[in-house]
């Protein structure tokens, strides 16, 4: 059995980096994508090679259709890709009346266009292989809504819709498509969030770790989750 390869977008830090390390630990080779933090992505790749796994770093903006397509084609010339984790995401919070077009598009395009640009070229190879795992990192914000995050909630809710629809198309080929909806997780993304205020509403009274999310993603990427598709799993310290 050949070793499986996972591609993780936005893998230089935060949840993406934790997913990359965890899947490598589980025996997968890893493709990390990043847009700005090349040095950080290279450092994660070096850690993965220390584990005896292969690691590639591809630097491109998932919003950019042309560059994404070129980068994925180049990767597919070197390796098969069995698992894709659409993790790249950004926030640009603002109450809706003050939300700029840039803040809308950067957030929506990274999540949704990014999902489309990266996932579509990987799907037919998965179909032919009759095995694949597509895991989309959404957010509880996309499930429940959140003030000041109309753009982010729209993007993540869109990703959840895409998850459910694509799961139906691919189910009979042993390709599962699931979404993970993290709550407040200890990454750079929440540095400007009012953590003390939010903690009052989290039943477990703590923020989650990137590792906890990565362990869930690892389950969804494995054979153990084979009968589960089109699901949105919250990991948020409470229901």
């Amino acid at each position: 059995m050949t070793r499986k390869v996972a591609l993780i977008t936005g893998a230089s830090r935060g949840i993406g980096a934790a997913v990359a390390r965890t899947l490598a630990h589980d025996g997968l080779d890893i493709v990390l994508t990043c847009v700005h933090q090349r040095a950080a992505a290279d450092a994660v790749a070096a850690e993965i090679r220390e584990l005896g796994r292969q690691a590639w770093v591809a630097q491109f903006d998932v919003k950019d259709a042309e560059r994404s397509r070129a980068a994925i084609e180049q990767l597919l010339a070197q390796t098969e890709i069995h698992v894709v984790v659409n993790n790249a995401g950004v926030v640009a919070d603002s109450v809706f009346p003050a939300l700029s077009p840039d803040a809308w598009h950067s957030v929506v395009d990274t999540s949704l266009d990014g999902f489309f640009h990266v996932t579509q070229p990987l799907v037919m190879p998965m179909v032919r292989r009759r095995w694949g795992r597509i895991i989309n990192i959404a957010s509880v914000s996309g499930v429940n809504g959140n003030r000041g995050q109309v753009n982010y909630c729209a993007a993540k809710a869109g990703l959840i819709g895409a998850t459910k629809a694509l799961a139906l198309e691919l189910a009979s080929r042993n390709i599962t498509v699931n979404a993970v909806a993290p709550g407040l997780i200890d990454t750079e993304m929440i540095t400007s969030a009012p953590v003390e205020e939010i903690l009052k509403h989290i039943p477990m009274k703590r923020i989650g770790t990137a590792q906890e999310v990565a362990d869930l993603v690892a389950y969804l990427a494995s054979d153990k989750s084979a009968y589960m598709t089109g699901q949105v799993i919250s990991i948020a310290g409470g229901p």
Partner: protein, 96 residues
Amino acid sequence: MTPSELHQEIKQLIVEALQLQDVDPASISDTDALFGDGLNLDSIDALELATAIARKYDVKVSQDQETRDAFRSVRHLAEFITMKRAAATGGGHEGR
């Protein structure tokens, strides 16, 4: 190649390209519907089959009505392939 040989070859290709392990190529009829009833293929199978046919017979398979008609049955597919190849090699016209 006779039409009958082409029909057999297409059935073999359908089983191989779509990894239909439980289907005997000989059990596929020339005229039964490939999609919906009959073999009960879906639209992703259609994409896979289109790619396989384009590769094997060196014909252009685009997403138009002509193609959709061609994918109705083995016989329609054989006629489509024969016509496309004739157009590509004869008459000085590109078969696209």
